[in-house]
Amino acid sequence: MSFYQYKDTIEEGDLVFAFISRGTIKPIVITRDQQLNTRYGHYEHNDMIGMKYGQQMAGARGYGFIHLLHPTPEMWTLSLPHRTQIVYTSDSSYIMQRLNVVAGTRVIEAGTGSASFTHSFARTVAAEGRLFTYEFHEPRYNEAKRELEEHNMTGNTLITHRDVCNDGFELDNIPENFQHDGGINGDVIFLDLPSPWTAIPHLNSVISQTSRVGICCFSPCIEQVDKTVKALQDEGWTEIEMVEVAGRRWEARKDMVKDIKDVVKRLKDIQSRKNQGIENRRHAKVKSGEKRDHDQVDSGDNGSDSDKKFQNLGKGFNPFGKGIRVREGDDGFEWRNVTKVEGEVKSHTSYLTFAYKIPVPS
């Protein structure tokens, strides 16, 4: 039950996320005598067995490192094999919060796709809840089914190969432990398929008849929302509201403080050196192949601030490290903390159309 519960020590057969960088997280199943080979080093599975989850591991050949992480639905979303577009955490977390998906909720989801949201739903509805997920594309269905089995999720998640738009959601042989009052009785519906409006009329027989049911339809185009809203109205859903979630990730960066006084001072310095012919000598030195690593830049850390900026290497006053490689945050310079939005913002994922259905008072 790795997606449902933490453990501390890595064992053979565990699903582990090898975190190489934010963009490269590799799910691996720990298998004796296997190796994880990356551009950033080589890692023996045998060595991972017995390590703690969260531990940093050095590459077998003395360079590179990775972190060994425990599975969570959020890590899965960042690392899963994409078979389709997927729902990301900023959307899924909001949908679950708004529709009050908690332990014990019965959820109906179509289509399963790459099972990104499926993992998140399954975790949150937990052992008491149930997730009924449908996928009509056979290879995708098979892949997802295999994943759910490998991830030990079949205790609360039932995947069905079905075209829900034509054939609806009803199941003939619901396993006993998945029934509620003899049926599916969904509390929450999530539709992420091209024509949700054709699936909506089929929902009536599989949703709770005694309590309020919430739905979210996830569609990228406004035309789809139009049709969805009409279908929801026709089927008696209320409180229909469409929203969009804008999710952004901010990176922490450092920006060098460049004081105008230092700029002026440097210009004066250059001028006076020119006058003294020192500039020429400097050029000669560079030619002789002497290059400076930033470590050397770091080294002159005794004395005052402006001493530091005066790199004292015969190159004059160089407060901003011109011409040498300066890394963000290097000592010897002044920095301030800034944020920068991630390189590519997901500016539109989909429109989220929410609605509720209340049983008709008897």
Binding site: Q5, G41, K52, Y53, L69, S93, M96, A103, S211, D226
Partner: protein, 478 residues
Amino acid sequence: MTEVEIPEVTTSSDESTRIIEKSSKIITAYQHALIRLPSEGLKIVQLRPDGVISLGKFGSFEVNEILGFPFGQSFEILENLKVKPTKSISQLHDDGEAGENSDEAIEDVEKEKDELTKMFSNSAEHNQNIINIGSKIQKLSNEEIDELKKSGATSKIGQTIIEKMIAGHEGFEKKTIFSQQKYLKRKQQKFLRRFTVEYLGASQLLQYYIEKDIQRVLDMSEESLGLLMTYANIRPGGRYLVIDETGGVILYAMMERMKGQGSIVLVHDNEHPNIIALRHSDYPEESINSMIKTINWLQFVEPDNEKIDWEDATAEELEEMKPSKRAQYDRRSKRAHEINEVINIVQEGNFDALVSVSSLHMPTLLEHVLPTIGGSRPVVIYNQFKELLLETQHFLMSDKRVLAPSIFESRVRAYQTIPGRMHPLMTMRGFGGYVLWGTRVIPKESGVQAIGRGIIKRKREDTPSTEDEKSDKKPKEE
């Protein structure tokens, strides 16, 4: 922080214990519920059988009238504290706005439609000529409205008022049907005596505080709450370390997701924790106490000093104690055991997440907290100011015990949801806060060569450098 005044709510513990298992589905006696008014006002009420709930100018009704209906049901206030179940407040307008779908069976909707049709017969096709909908087009004075409202107690009053308003609305005829409907919707929401009873989930509780006192929830939006719960991987059976300065809204959201399984250690900065929001939670005090252990920062930071040296009295000693002495002994014993227990839990550490919603300075606080979080567990920190999380993120990046800390921002934008006329609403909230998410890791103490610098250095040692000096290429992350 001052407590918001909520007149109807006074939970005496004997009442909350009458709830055996609270229902999130059926309107149930003794539970708290959220009441949504047409004006979009919110109220939290406790549903005491035989009690009467007053919705101010909208009227009053008897609690018994609404018990047994599903949560989410709308009602209309009738005379003599009676109500009748009705379609949702929004559906009226949904129908109205959809316009054409007329096979609606519910009687009162038909009636309203009749009213609307009558007025719409004179409608203009285009709305170029509409004078700005301001106070100018409003012929009724406030006094007139009040008088009308006082003059009778029937549900028709709202309707009458609306009709009057339309009659007195010079520009109304010049509007398109659509604009007329929109106008009616606004007016109806203001005056119809309808309300909806909702389950008081975490989102509802948050929304309530957002409207009453947003500072109390540190500007947090529903989407940020969702991010917190998801990134912290909250689920039944977890053991969480929590800092919650919202007075318990975060705790409530967690408890809702945990369904009584698992545990929470709440760290607080006063002598006693403020968990006032949990009084609406309908969780019996015993289950709150067994699930949530509290510890103050002094005890957290100096556990060994704060542990209480305690030896249980022997059976004989207990025997000899006078009743008053005995009561005192029991109190002290309870307190000592509680404090020592929670200190032990913290010293044991290995929590399944850190969830922090706090205005405390994180870099100094995290020094004490990080060692107690288990390997590969999420660290999730909320703040209303991005700059404060930025500081935290820089701290974590150099600290190395939290992997890939990132600041997330999530903003929900609502649309006018009418087929053919979808567009974002003109305004949206500016607040909402930010969530930092990272993963607690166990860095290797030495012998790790970061790929970026390491490889480049090696290359340099091996071969004469060909690196472009001016290259400002960033090193690979981590």
